[in-house]
């Protein structure tokens, strides 16, 4: 059975390579085309904010829970962001039970940096009393079905869930409920390099044969907010520039989906 799987993956790889040589992808998309995207905001009634995002067959559920707590010593007048990702074994035969592994930690940290560094949430507005009490925001990312490009699905889900979040001030004796103060809408676009071709929004099969991956997060002005190169291959600087420009362009389209 292992042999069969190895042969199968060899055949798939050849198939992808051959099509690429003709400038085509397995599912007939253009190199810079996302799969169909659906966003279901407010999926969860128990979260303060939530969104379920599907990109093709990839399915991600993101929820935001809020609580009142102490600020960090070095940011006494700012709310606290905490991002966690769970690659639960329900979503893929290769995901295992247990504490976050390097894959889910990288995913959570890349999403976290994109949100944090873009200053998407006005964290100063999330301070209740400096040095004493601030709002703590837990963003939990659950992958439900894994068919590639978790970075963009998770990021889109996190942005949509935060946008959708109502701060539970009343239940915490902190006045009236209010929507989370959002300042920017950063968007992340991920591409892979396969035999020197750049492909946006890779499927799982494309990820498996990819040599390098690059995620670029940009804001409304097209400025860079976060980047992450992954996989054990290299990128030329020209490829980096190509992904940056594509991210700026496609980021604007994605931003419209959030509304």
């Amino acid at each position: 059975m292992k042999m069969a799987r190895a042969v199968m993956s060899e055949i798939k790889r050849d198939h992808i390579h051959k099509l690429l040589a003709k400038g085509r992808r397995v599912d007939n998309r253009a190199w810079d085309e996302f799969r169909p995207i659906s966003i279901q905001p407010g999926f969860s009634e128990t979260a303060e904010g939530s969104a379920r995002v599907r990109i093709g067959n990839t399915d991600v559920l993101v929820g935001v829970k809020m609580t009142v707590g102490e600020p960090f010593a070095d940011t006494p007048n700012k709310g606290v962001l905490s991002t966690n990702a769970e690659l639960i074994p329900l979503a893929s035969p290769t995901f295992e039970s247990g504490p976050p592994d390097e894959h889910s930690i990288e995913l959570a940290r890349v999403v976290d940096r994109g949100i944090r560094e873009s200053q998407m949430v006005d964290l100063e507005a999330m301070c209740i009393e400096p040095e004493k009490e601030v709002w703590i925001m837990f963003t939990d990312i659950y992958v439900l079905d894994y068919d590639g490009n978790l970075f963009d699905a998770a990021f889109l889900g996190a942005v949509a869930a935060l946008k959708n979040t109502i701060v539970p001030a009343k239940d915490n004796d902190k006045g009236e409920d209010f929507p989370l103060p959002i300042r920017h809408f950063p968007m992340s676009v991920t591409a892979v390099q396969i035999e020197n071709s750049i492909l946006v929004d890779p499927t799982l099969d494309e990820e498996k044969v990819a040599e390098a991956r690059l995620t670029v997060t940009t804001d409304e002005n097209g400025d860079l907010r976060a980047m992450q190169k992954g996989l054990a291959g290299a990128l030329t600087l020209d490829q980096v520039y190509k992904v940056i420009e594509t991210s700026q362009r496609l980021g604007n389209d994605l931003r419209k989906l959030i509304g």
């Binding site: 128990t46 329900l90 079905d145």
Partner: protein
């Protein structure tokens, strides 16, 4: 706390012997070998099945049959206060009793040395998730094409304001007097899962069983209906298409 009105109407408008609205969908995930989504009132539960597949670690393999390993988990934002990810003692116990209940209905002897892994993720909880779990999981097992004796409908009966009531929701569970989750095979009357805590007289227990058995039959019909719809959809989708070779076929 008064949870049932004088004319027998409950907190959420139901009668004492009334189930919450139930919605079941089979085959909702692409990567899993089988899957099901269940809404049980405000509970939202997703179940996926992988297997029969090679059993790791090796020393857990049974040379005579498959082992059924169920992991029940509540996601972080499924409840009021954020739940820290990872298994707690409650979910370990529930995983164990659901594994045992499902093991009974799977023809495990058909798949020696393998593992049949069942994952239950509670996306939103409102009391009764340990019953929504096997309800979803047995549909997911059927969706995965695994030979089974039967589906496993499950429901909790409880005692609230000294009355025996069917299918407790959250407030009733928090402030009620007893909770009795059961799972059974309606066709044979066999009990696969039974827990109880609280305070019940023998007469109340008998009434609870009566309500529970009746409800399991209704849930069973909804389960079968979900599988029938799934089958219809599959037929419709089965059109020949040019496709890359799929790993599942390997």
């Amino acid at each position: 706390m008064k949870l049932i009105s004088d004319d027998g109407i409950r907190y959420d408008g139901r009668k004492v012997d009334e189930l919450r609205p139930i919605r079941i969908e089979a085959g909702v995930l692409k990567r899993a070998d089988g899957s099901a989504y269940v809404e049980f009132g405000k509970n939202k539960v997703l179940a996926a099945v992988y297997g029969p597949r090679e059993c790791h670690p090796r020393h857990m393999q049974n040379p005579a049959k498959a082992i059924v390993q169920c992991k029940y988990n509540m996601i972080a934002f499924s409840v009021g206060d954020r739940k820290r990810p990872g298994p707690d003692r409650r979910s370990v116990e529930i995983s164990k009793i659901i594994s045992e209940a499902l093991d009974y209905v799977v023809f495990t002897e058909n798949f020696p040395r393998t593992s049949i892994d069942v994952y239950i993720e509670v996306l939103q909880a409102n009391a009764g998730t340990r019953c929504a779990g096997p309800t979803a999981a047995s549909v997911a097992l059927a969706d995965a094409g695994i030979p089974m004796k039967d589906l496993v409908p499950s429901v909790a009966v409880g005692k609230v304001n000294d009355q025996v009531v069917l299918d407790l929701q959250k407030e009733e569970d928090n402030y009620g007097q007893a909770d009795l989750p059961i799972a059974m095979i309606p066709r044979t009357g066999e009990i696969l899962l039974m827990q109880m805590d609280g305070h019940m007289t023998r007469a109340e227990f008998d009434r609870a069983i009566e309500l529970g058995v009746g409800a399991c039959k209704r849930i069973y019909d909804i389960q079968k209906d979900a599988l029938a719809r799934r089958y219809t959809v599959e037929k419709t989708e089965e059109e020949p298409a040019e496709e890359a070779p799929s790993e599942q076929e390997g």
